[in-house]
């Protein structure tokens, strides 16, 4: 009987327990439903950024939204987003209100693929607080940068931001610094690319400035330290946004940006194209794309491309186009310091960095253009010379290639460094040293082709044998000398009567490739038409090149 009672009591207790459990489970289930709903809601909200009204306004300006840009940049379906739920943490100035919270805040971050290769991306969302940088925004960017560094994959930043989140004060500034630090840590480890697609002002400009390449979108992007209003109040200069920091300014005058594209769509298509030239990190070799262009293709037009008169211009870009695979050449800074040409191309499928003097252009730094409209006279004396801007442009490009295992091919036709007070006062000595330094420091395969002039110190600088060029060629038209015949004769035969004969003798002796060839300063004098075949063959051999440098903390380039 007692046992029966006990059993009943246990049964009663059990039933109580069971009902309690049911209730608990029921409440748990309903909670789960609401969380799922909330997740979905947040995701849906995040996808809309700052809301439809702001998206429409963005479109009206001819700009795409942060997510639309990512969808064009990356392979379809490859984007994996992170931190979609991150919100800003500011409680001041009413920022804590629900209407001022946007899941993901003002930046979209994650990883994805371009033509199948991994890349990390952040895309600032102008529709949320004008893309302004909050602590959370910076933290999101830092997170993907950290992972990109550990994994070894490039970072692409799509910049479209009004600046610091003023409501957050110093936290926003701290956020910038966190990003700067990572830009520097990643420098030379993974390629970093910035595409400026809207405003980028104040401290924000230094992140793109620290990255390897800065591209801009024409008419809709600006980069400046202080805007036109501040400029007006401080220096009393009247200047528009476009004049102060538009794509034209930075790609032609300041050299801050490396290329400008027509609009968002054009820029993103080009960025995909550009990305294919780059290795994923400093641990990876230069990419080799499938190539249909025969590596031993002869280029007959090169045999006549260099004019017989040594003062006559020709276009070095024509030589580059005809030597590289399929005439594809992605030029970097095509409108800045045009006396030097730099850019990426492929040889037998492998990415190479091209550096070339441009005999068609004298120097941006002198007051007249090479084709002077009034006189219509070409100034051959300065054609293709090195000056401050071209040295810096070349040096930065050479260092990028060296950092990322991209072989360097240098086409030389250089009459020397540009003379003049402007250049000397501007520091041509230390700026010129940068290019010299960069070539000397580079340990990637280096192939050099002297097409015509290689005069004076500029000869040494342009990836000469003496700076450990691996293969140095001269075309039959090459003149490797201290200076041109006229100048040399004026010094050697000062006061002599028969200057013409002396000049002829100098030309006979020095204005040809032999003095360098007999000393082994060029490895061979080659028929120009065979240039492509020779370079492709050399690059195959040089692919296994290894150079050991003595230990150092870091080198000290003359900045």
């Amino acid at each position: 009987m007692a046992a029966a009672l006990r059993v009943a009591a246990v049964g009663a207790r059990l039933s109580v327990l069971a009902s309690g459990l049911r209730a608990a489970v029921r409440s748990l289930c309903s909670q789960a439903t609401s969380v799922n709903e909330r997740i979905e809601n947040k995701r849906r909200t995040a996808l809309l950024g700052g809301g439809q009204r702001r998206i429409d306004a963005q479109h009206k300006r001819g700009k795409l939204t942060a997510r639309e840009r990512i969808s064009l940049l990356l392979d379809p379906g490859s984007f994996v987003e992170s931190d979609m739920f991150v919100e800003h943490r500011c409680a001041d100035f009413g920022m804590a209100a629900d209407k001022n919270k946007f899941p993901g805040d003002s930046v979209v971050t994650g990883r994805g693929r371009i033509n199948g290769r991994l890349v990390y991306v952040f895309s600032q969302d102008f529709t949320v607080f004008g893309g302004s940088l909050s602590g959370a925004h910076a933290q999101k960017i830092c997170k993907i940068m950290d992972q990109a560094i550990t994994v070894g994959a490039p970072v692409i930043g799509l910049n479209d931001s009004g600046g610091a989140r003023i409501q957050e004060g110093v936290e926003s500034l701290a956020g910038y610094a966190d990003i700067f630090l990572r830009n520097v840590t990643a420098s030379g480890v993974i390629p970093q690319i910035s595409l400026i697609m809207g405003p980028c002002a104040g401290g924000a400009v230094y992140s793109p400035a620290l990255t390897d390449f800065t591209f801009m979108v024409k008419d809709t992007s600006y980069l400046f330290i202080t805007g036109p209003d501040v400029v007006k109040s401080v220096t009393n200069e009247d200047v528009t946004q476009e004049e102060l920091g538009g794509a034209k300014t930075h790609t032609t005058m300041s050299g801050v940006a490396h290329r400008a594209f027509e609009n968002d769509v054009d820029a993103l298509c080009n960025l995909r194209d550009f990305f294919n030239y780059l290795p994923l990190s400093s641990q990876d070799p230069a990419p080799v794309r499938e190539c249909h262009d025969p590596s031993d293709r002869l280029v007959p037009e090169l045999d006549t491309i260099v004019p017989l008169e040594s003062t006559k211009a020709y276009n070095m870009v024509d030589i580059i186009h005809s030597v590289v695979d399929e005439r594809e050449f992605f030029e970097i800074m095509p409108n800045y310091a045009k006396n030097i040409i730099v850019g990426f191309a492929r040889m037998n499928g492998r990415t190479v960095g091209i550096v070339g003097n441009q005999p068609k252009v004298a120097s941006d730094s002198i007051s007249f253009t090479p084709w002077n409209y009034a006189r219509r006279q070409y100034r051959p004396y300065f054609a293709g010379c090195l000056d401050i801007n071209s040295s810096v442009k070349g040096a930065r490009f050479v260092r990028f290639c060296d950092a990322f295992n991209i072989p360097l091919i240098t086409f030389v036709d250089v009459p020397g460094f540009l003379p003049g007070t402007a250049q000397e006062y501007g520091g041509i000595i230390r700026h010129g040293a940068k290019l010299l330094y960069a070539f000397a420091e580079a340990t990637v395969p280096k192939v050099t082709v002297i097409t015509r002039k290689a005069y004076g110190g500029a000869y040494d600088v342009m990836s000469s044998k003496h700076l450990c060029g691996d293969t140095n060629y001269a075309w039959p038209t090459a003149e490797i000398a201290v200076m041109g015949a006229k100048g040399a004769v004026e010094i050697i035969f000062k006061g002599h009567e028969n200057v013409e004969a002396a000049q002829a003798e100098y030309i006979e002796k020095f204005a040809n490739p032999f003095p360098a060839a007999v000393r082994g300063f060029v490895d061979d004098i080659i028929q120009p038409s065979s240039t492509r075949a020779r370079i492709c063959c050399d690059l195959d051999v040089l692919a296994s090149k290894k150079v050991q440098r003595p230990w150092r903390k870091h080198a000290n380039i003359p900045l």
Binding site: D75, G116, R117, V265, P287, P307, L308
Partner: protein
Amino acid sequence: MAGFWVGTAPLVAAGRRGRWPPQQLMLSAALRTLKTFDKILVANRGEIACRVIRTCKKMGIKTVAIHSDVDASSVHVKMADEAVCVGPAPTSKSYLNMDAIMEAIKKTRAQAVHPGYGFLSENKEFARCLAAEDVVFIGPDTHAIQAMGDKIESKLLAKKAEVNTIPGFDGVVKDAEEAVRIAREIGYPVMIKASAGGGGKGMRIAWDDEETRDGFRLSSQEAASSFGDDRLLIEKFIDNPRHIEIQVLGDKHGNALWLNERECSIQRRNQKVVEEAPSIFLDAETRRAMGEQAVALARAVKYSSAGTVEFLVDSKKNFYFLEMNTRLQVRVDSGIQPGSDISIYYDPMISKLITYGSDRTEALKRMADALDNYVIRGVTHNIALLREVIINSRFVKGDISTKFLSDVYPDGFKGHMLTKSEKNQLLAIASSLFVAFQLRAQHFQENSRMPVIKPDIANWELSVKLHDKVHTVVASNNGSVFSVEVDGSKLNVTSTWNLASPLLSVSVDGTQRTVQCLSREAGGNMSIQFLGTVYKVNILTRLAAELNKFMLEKVTEDTSSVLRSPMPGVVVAVSVKPGDAVAEGQEICVIEAMKMQNSMTAGKTGTVKSVHCQAGDTVGEGDLLVELE
């Protein structure tokens, strides 16, 4: 009877095989007599000089080339054993510079001079200079040149030999007003031409007094710069004529015979564009009558070489003597090779193409194929026009005249007009190319730490823009076969997809096409040469095309207020200065390029803001000449 051939110029050269064998024998006999020379100087440039030099090499004769300074590295200079620079670029200072050429002859001790054609080949003064120095002139003797090289004299001679001539004024025209008076007497339309000229230079048609004055001025300028002789003549312009020429051969014994004709009616600015033999128009009787008159003329001038007698033939098969070219028409090749500069100072002809077939249809088909396979980069050319002419229904029927081009293309030639199915083919080929490029971009071959995970796209949904119209395309591929749906119609495109080759042979639903991808940009722009014409397409993925709608239109330069040079050339005259008021269509300046003077006119009525050029300037394509406000 294997001998229908069609030749097109500026791009025209290969063999007239199996035609006129006896005449070919005679030519080689003529060449053998030249073997007596050790060294000859070739007083010409370009393809003609190359041809002469090549023949000399075969015969073991050393050659001396002459060249202007801009031609220093051209092909004929490289081919010759020696070369002498005879002056700066303008022909009057180089290839027409008799003193310099005589000097070169003395210096190189050349025993003979081959003048080629054009330049000094018909210059009696030059022939006389050579005779005085005891240098042999290879070509007709001085008398024949004198007689035939001068149009006025040749016309008088032709009349005497009872050759049909065109009514007109046989004398030298002094000034524009006299030109107008004569033109009125003859009755409009009239033709104004350089007395010393040939090849269409310095030749203009005038339909009224105003045009006569203009034509007189321009023609005399051109005549002066090309031939160093500004004399002009005026004659009745025969409307809708055909241009048919007869070749004649004469010897020193007074024998002369005629060869069959070639028809050169398709002309642009009086320069032959397409030549054809035999003419589809002539009957045996007319052919014989023309041949006999040509022989009569050759006999009359005691012609002892090979030459060409040109006739105009009207719709009733009446024919009129036009001129006689005292020169050898040799088979011609290209005078350029990759890397050659094509100078603005000389003739625009860069190459000739000749095809032949057992009948006309076959010759034309081969011509179309050959034109599709021509790879030309770096210069503008007229392949599109040539290809269009030879497939034009009027041309195919033989219904042509020298006015053919201006009749068929009254507003100028704008390129091939695509039929619906051709358009679909073009879009399918372009889309397939786009996808092939996209797929290739995913083919990385280096040893990578990280796997490449290619996007899995079964169907490429594309939006292709052509002539401002957007077409929806879906493409998918199975190996090298692309299935493409263009606006709903399905096509199959097969090719090797060699993306580096300048020529891409493609089969679209079994139709063989040769296309050339001339340029390609990451932003989707592509230029494709298809059926001879270059088409610009823009290809975007559907997503990119949808987003592209938000992109703003860029503001473009108002082209009516700026005048830019349409081609590289030399400014001959500038007729305005800043502040001048100009009317739309008024002449602003004249640019000479390829030996043609082009009058540049105002795009709108306004005031001249600034002038950026002066007479004598060399200008490049797109250079700013004058700004209006």
